[in-house]
């Protein structure tokens, strides 16, 4: 907790000294920079964690500013004003979440469209604010109201801004220590993997955007009271762009970065505005320089220097505890394909695939490259939409559901090319996987999931030959390919799905590592009684591990029987000889 309280206390102490040390006018100017800084902190939260760049934050800033001005002009006490603020903030939260969820639902790559849509919305808002003169005062602005609680913008109101800044910083620093932070970062790192772990990424992006919108709105409300006038500029693109620049220059990956950017650029602009006519050009050059040379902004440069003096200490994690039980049904039943067809463009990938697995055991899927093996698994998870037929797991129909719902149906998936969260440590990868299918929304705001362990994870981690226990603090992106295979298997096994889909888990492994992976798969099946469906080319593994073997060829089932029967089948021999490493 000291990592949160110390910086907030230092910040608070320094800001509280300003009026006495530097005078009320400086405090007034600093108050405005901090207001922009709060809005920029919201952008940093969204952009730095999820990678989504909002280009229209002034929409929420301006709406809240106008609403505050109107409420203050209409009179009423502080309680009424706070009540109105709650209503406005709730409306903004709802609008922001709805907008983001709508744009991101069903498409993981909507980021650029989202940025452009927010840009369009803020341009519309500025136009509306400028033309609805009876409501907003038009281009002359909305004014003639008192400041909040009658506090003087050159006096007491500064302390309100400082309190808001400290509260927002405390909130964001606290969030950084919680699993919610990992999940938000995971969206940027590897969204498809996060979806297959059961996380609804469109809702996560929606929530992150909501937080950023609420911070912009808070800043807008403070701005109206601080400035005594709201003009269409407060809802405009220029302010939106300025907030992005403050965030980028200050550092979008750090909570304090946007504040630093707002204060540094605000102070520099005010100092240069009268003496240097090209100060905006200078600002633009600074922005370009930061983007090119220091993408982490001033905060990252400061932190890098600081870490040379005081190295980062590893976080103290809560003790290991038994994880809550998975929410998915533990005995979902057999998996059945009924005349499943899949066509992409003119290419027919699955041509009426029909089979039914047992409810438990290991089913190997073999067949030539391009037979439709990976595509068949992709239709089970909803990653590919079928063009005909049905897929059932027990009594539930599961085809064409979004990938993030697969785990809730009991289906875990390991991909062909190991898919992990590359910028995160092995331990962070495992924490995200450990929460998959188990955590409630409230759990992501507690630290206890950092200590969660399931039998599925423990069996992998504590196996003497698995190379992960010694690599927990290592970034997953620096692991060799084979170790990534073990990490992704551990992540999939951690959720303990009753149906485990493994796509060539032994690819890129040495013969000994292959034997180890095979042991882990067998152990998982034996401990959980799961149905394991595994694509494999190595026939010695297929023979050793399989209860049944499914042979696919040209998108159809060629055989589905025991290994002995399938390997003796002349039709199978004609298309697929198989081999060993």
């Amino acid at each position: 907790m000291a990592s949160v309280l110390i910086p907030v206390s230092l910040l608070l102490g320094a800001l509280l000294l300003v009026p006495q040390a530097l005078g009320e006018f400086t405090a007034y100017q600093l108050g405005l920079y901090l207001i922009y800084g709060i809005a920029a902190q919201g952008i940093g939260f969204l952009w730095g964690k999820t990678g989504i760049l909002p280009l229209g934050q002034a929409l929420f800033f301006g709406v809240a500013a106008y609403a505050t001005g109107m409420a203050l002009r209409d009179g009423g006490g502080l309680v009424l004003h706070l009540g109105l603020a709650a209503v406005v903030l709730a409306a903004i939260a709802l609008a922001a979440f709805g907008l983001a969820a709508l744009i991101f639902r069903g498409r993981a790559d909507s980021g650029p469209y989202f940025s452009l849509i927010t840009l369009a919305l803020v341009m519309i808002a500025e136009q509306v604010a400028g033309t609805t003169t009876s409501l907003t005062g038009g281009f002359n602005g909305f004014s003639g109201y008192d400041s909040l609680a009658g506090l003087d913008p050159f006096g007491g109101f500064y302390y309100v801004i400082v309190a808001a800044t400290a509260a927002v910083t405390l909130l964001l620093l606290t969030l950084n220590r919680l699993p919610a932070n990992l999940i938000a970062r995971a969206v940027l790192d590897n969204e498809p993997r996060l979806q297959l772990l059961g996380y609804p990424t469109h809702a996560i992006k929606g929530l992150a955007f909501t937080v950023s919108a609420l911070l912009a709105a808070l800043a807008g409300g403070l701005f109206a009271s601080h400035q005594g006038i709201v003009t269409p500029d407060a809802t405009g693109f220029a302010l939106s762009a300025q907030l992005v620049i403050l965030t980028a220059v200050g550092g979008r990956f750090h909570v304090l970065g946007p504040l630093v950017g707002a204060v540094a650029i605000g102070w520099a602009s005010d100092s240069l505005r009268d003496s240097f006519p090209y100060w905006e050009l200078l600002l633009a050059c600074l922005f370009i320089l930061v983007v090119l040379k220091a993408p982490g902004g001033l905060a990252e440069l400061v932190e890098r220097g600081w870490r040379r003096i005081i190295p980062a200490r590893p976080a103290v994690l809560p003790p290991a505890t038994e994880a809550p039980a998975p929410r998915a049904p533990q005995d979902p039943g057999a998996l059945a394909f009924e005349d499943v067809r899949l066509q992409i463009g003119v290419v027919r990938i699955l041509n009426g695939v029909t089979f039914e697995t047992p409810a438990a055991g290991i089913v190997s899927v073999i067949g030539p490259n391009g037979a439709g093996k990976t595509s068949a698994l992709n239709t089970i998870t909803g990653t590919l939409r079928t063009t005909g037929g049905a897929i059932r797991l027990g009594t539930q129909r599961i085809d064409n559901r979004p990938p993030h719902k697969a785990l809730a149906s009991g289906i875990g998936r390991k991909l062909q090319v190991p898919s992990v969260f590359f910028s995160m440590s092995v331990a962070e990868n495992l924490t995200i996987a450990m929460m998959a299918g188990r955590a409630r929304w409230s759990d992501v705001l507690c630290r206890s999931p950092f200590g969660w362990r399931s039998g599925g994870l423990t069996r992998v981690l504590e196996h003497a030959a698995v190379p992960l226990a010694a690599e927990l603090s290592r970034p997953a992106g620096t692991l060799p390919q084979g170790h990534r295979q073990f990490l992704e298997f551990a992540m999939t096994a951690a959720a303990e799905p009753p149906v485990l889909l493994l796509d060539e888990p032994c690819a890129g492994l040495s013969p000994e590592e292959t034997a180890l992976m095979t042991d882990l798969v067998r152990a998982y099946q034996a401990a959980t009684g799961a149905l394991v469906i595994m694509i494999e080319h190595d026939m010695s593994i297929v023979e050793a591990i399989s209860d049944r073997v499914l042979v696919l060829h040209q998108g159809q089932v060629l055989a589905f029987d025991s290994y002995a029967a399938v390997s003796a089948d002349p039709a199978v021999q004609a298309v697929y000889a198989g081999g060993t490493k």
């Binding site: 992409i344 463009g345 003119v346 290419v347 990938i349 067949g367 030539p368 490259n369 391009g370 037979a371 439709g372 093996k373 990976t374 595509s375 062909q416 090319v417 030959a465 190379p467 620096t478 692991l479 060799p480 390919q481 084979g482 170790h483 796509d503 060539e504 690819a507 890129g508 492994l509 040495s510 013969p511 000994e512 590592e513 180890l516 080319h537 026939m539 697929y576 000889a577 198989g578 081999g579 060993t580 490493k581």
Partner: protein
């Protein structure tokens, strides 16, 4: 006479962390050098240091006698170095045909369509919608048609069905017989020992075995790959 590829006391890795130390090797024209070792010992790092994707911390790489250690990957490619990476090896949003049209290729892709007929059938399909094994084959053929003097292949058989692995071996033998120097990094020891003239075993970033292929059996190589 200088070898097609000379690696001299190579040291390097990622950022400030070296994972490969003092590795030397020489591959003459017509030779296949097989590289093996457990995961994480530095095989991919070695391939990327030679190809130019990673900067050397020490040592030198010479291509047909010319020092290329400070050259960019595209300059090494222009000097006759072909490279098939382990991952990210095709352009997912381009069709199979478009993938095969990129770059200056000395051979026509059709020369390989008899061996890999699936590529001929799927020419109009986006590479990203193909299976993992098919993408590997596409990347392999892409590398073959460049007709490079020196070829570096990082786990080309991963995810590929055995019949197609045998066809890959056939292509590599043909390239070596035509005078290319081939460096093949593989976990599939059967594939590796079937075509390698020399073997280089790595462990913890260092060379632990250097032997002519016929003098060491596949079983002995596997014995060195203890987890």
């Amino acid at each position: 006479m200088s070898a097609h590829l000379e690696i001299e006391a190579l040291t390097g890795g990622y950022h400030d962390t070296n994972v490969l130390f003092d590795v030397s090797a020489r591959v003459d024209r017509g030779e296949v050098l097989g590289i093996f070792g457990r995961n994480g010992v530095g095989k991919t790092t070695l391939a990327r240091l030679v190809q130019g994707g990673l900067r050397l911390a020490g040592g030198a790489v010479r291509l047909k006698g010319r020092e290329v250690s400070s050259l960019a990957p595209w300059d090494r490619r222009a000097l006759g170095l072909g490279y098939m990476p382990q991952t990210e090896m095709v352009f997912d949003d381009l069709t199979v045909r478009e993938n095969l049209m990129l770059g200056e290729n000395a051979r026509a892709p059709e020369e390989y369509f008899d061996l890999f007929p699936r590529l001929a059938e799927r020419q109009g399909q986006l590479a990203g919608s193909m299976s993992g094994g098919e993408r590997k084959i596409l990347a392999f053929v892409r590398t073959m048609i460049e007709d490079s003097d020196v070829l570096i292949l990082d786990e080309p058989s991963e995810g590929v069905q055995p019949e197609n692995i045998e066809r890959m071996a056939q292509c590599l033998r043909a390239r070596a017989e035509a005078g290319a120097a081939v460096v093949l990094s593989e976990q599939n020891i059967g594939f590796l020992t079937s075509i390698a003239d020399h073997l280089l075993g790595l462990d913890a970033g260092r060379v632990v075995l250097r032997e002519t292929a016929g003098r060491v059996s596949a079983e002995e190589v596997r014995a060195l790959l203890t987890v």
